[in-house]
């Protein structure tokens, strides 16, 4: 079953573009990455899923139910972590979390304390006294405490130190192993690469690629680097080669196509070293953005 089903979703803020005719599906139990630069429409998409805003055209369904019409019902099972976390400043952390839990029929007290323990969150401090990173932790705990079946994470790691990021990823992966579907929006490719099964790449309000993360890496490009004093770079100006560059006896390029063509070419010349590797998502990503 598709947990999230988005079809032709469009949102304009007056004349300003939010997203334009977006369609994708998220399967049950997967971690779905949603990547794109700031302003591409990532938050708009998530806010549409939560019915915080209303679509100009198209529709979105979660658990098979329309996001707008069945909003309150489907939000029972959604955990949301906004990119910017601001909560009622005068409240203490514990009161905010209890308020958050009060919206769900189940008793979330035990889970709340467990999560606060994992994220090392002090419950008796006032929210206005917290640093940005600590507020983010409050966001994480309030988003997870009711054991949602779907997590919507909007750039969740900003403001967390590396140690906390690791704990957070661990937490997300544990949730995912228990069957929780995760929708993970980010502009940091490393974390998407590490966590997600599939990704959608969004640019200027449109999805330009939806793919399995391994397919994206493997079936596309190879990053080739050759070392050697006498390499003639122009010899590699072959079909399928891109981003060819050379300096100080090194030649670097990306290659897409039959790898044997390149292997034969390399074996015909003298090199002191050769590496052929998969590009990072970052490099693929930049390719898409050019």
């Amino acid at each position: 079953m598709n947990v999230i089903e988005v079809s032709h979703l469009t949102k304009y803020y007056g004349k300003a573009r939010g997203i334009d005719d977006i369609s994708f599906q998220v399967n049950e139990g997967e971690i779905f990455g949603f990547i794109g630069p700031n302003g591409a429409g990532k938050s708009t998409t998530i806010r549409l899923l939560l019915a915080l805003i209303h679509p100009t055209a198209g529709s979105a369904a979660i658990f098979g139910k329309d996001c707008i019409r069945f909003g309150p019902e489907i939000r029972q099972e959604i955990g949301y972590l906004p990119s910017e976390v601001f909560y009622y400043d005068r409240m203490k952390v514990i009161d905010l979390l209890k308020y958050s839990a009060s919206f769900y029929p189940k008793d979330s007290t035990a889970r709340m304390h467990e999560l606060a323990g994992i994220m090392e969150l002090e419950l008796n401090r006032r929210i206005e006294d917290l640093s940005y990173g600590n507020r983010k932790k409050v966001g994480i705990v309030q988003g997870l405490l009711h054991r949602p079946k779907l997590l919507l994470l909007d750039e969740p790691t900003s403001g967390l130190d590396p140690l906390m990021q690791r704990k957070f990823f661990q937490l997300i992966q544990d949730e995912n192993r228990c069957g929780v579907t995760v929708f993970f929006s980010s502009h940091i490719l490393g974390e998407v690469q590490r966590l997600c099964n599939r990704v959608a790449i969004i640019k200027e309000g449109k999805i330009i690629e939806t793919a399995d993360i391994r397919t994206l890496q493997k079936n596309n490009y190879k990053k080739v680097q050759l070392m050697g004093a006498k390499i003639d770079p122009s010899g590699f100006d072959l079909p399928g080669v891109s981003h060819l560059e050379h300096e100080d006896g090194a030649v670097r390029f990306f290659f897409k196509g039959d790898i044997n063509v390149i292997m034969q070419k390399i074996s015909s010349i003298t090199v002191s070293d050769a590496t052929i590797e998969e590009p990072t998502l970052e490099e693929i990503f930049i390719h898409y953005y050019e």
């Binding site: 700031n38 915080l52 805003i53 939000r75 959604i78 906004p82 009622y88 005068r90 308020y99 958050s100």
Partner: protein
Amino acid sequence: MSMNIFKQEFGMRWRSVVTWSAAIAAVMLVYISLFSSFAGQADQINQLMANYPKELLDAFGLNGTDLSTVMGFFGVVFLFTQVLLAIQASNYGFGLVSVEEREWTADFLMAKPVKRTSILTGKLLSAAAGLTVTNAIVWICSFGFINIFKAGRSYDTGSLVLLLGSIAVFQLFFLSVGLVVSLLVKRVRSVTPYAMGLAFGMYVLSAFGGLLGTSVIEDITPFKHFDPNYIVRHGMYDLPLVLISFGVVIVAFVASYLLYARRDVPAVS
């Protein structure tokens, strides 16, 4: 289901309710305590007032008022009280929803499994509860202070009850109009200027509407609908005008629910 929202909202507002109630009580105390000295020199004061232009007396609700009587004097005090009550209610009205959008807490609240209508109902009931506390304080202060400072004179309890009985609708007018205006504009950056603008604007329309010579404009302001001078002198409400207030409240609330259900919550950046 909106009980938790009601409690949360009331918890965040009670300080403000206490502050407003205390301030209004203090103002009433100061003015009402002046009554005995006014009453002693009533003849001179009434003569003095007779020399002022009618428009000026209208503006301060003094036209035809006999300041030597308890209710005549209290009517003037009540007009000041009304201005304060209007600012408070407008403040709650404009802030009710907009404060969440200004501090970005709307995302938190609306991502919860709760209908927008329930959110609004919880918030409105909480604001109304706060205003009712202030209303009750005004009742207590009015009866208490009048009986302390009436300088042995008698007064018409019926008129007093009529005056005080008008407070609830008066408050709801400013609460509902503030709310609907806050939902009609894209974003309320700061509540205070809006609240002051609505409250004083309505007061000015009532006070100086006479100078403009058109009664149509006057008819939209609750300061006119619940003009203390009229109520005290006639011992009754100006019924058609009171109905306008009721009508505005109902229309504003219905519109608010419709607008809030369709509203796009503005995002950061």
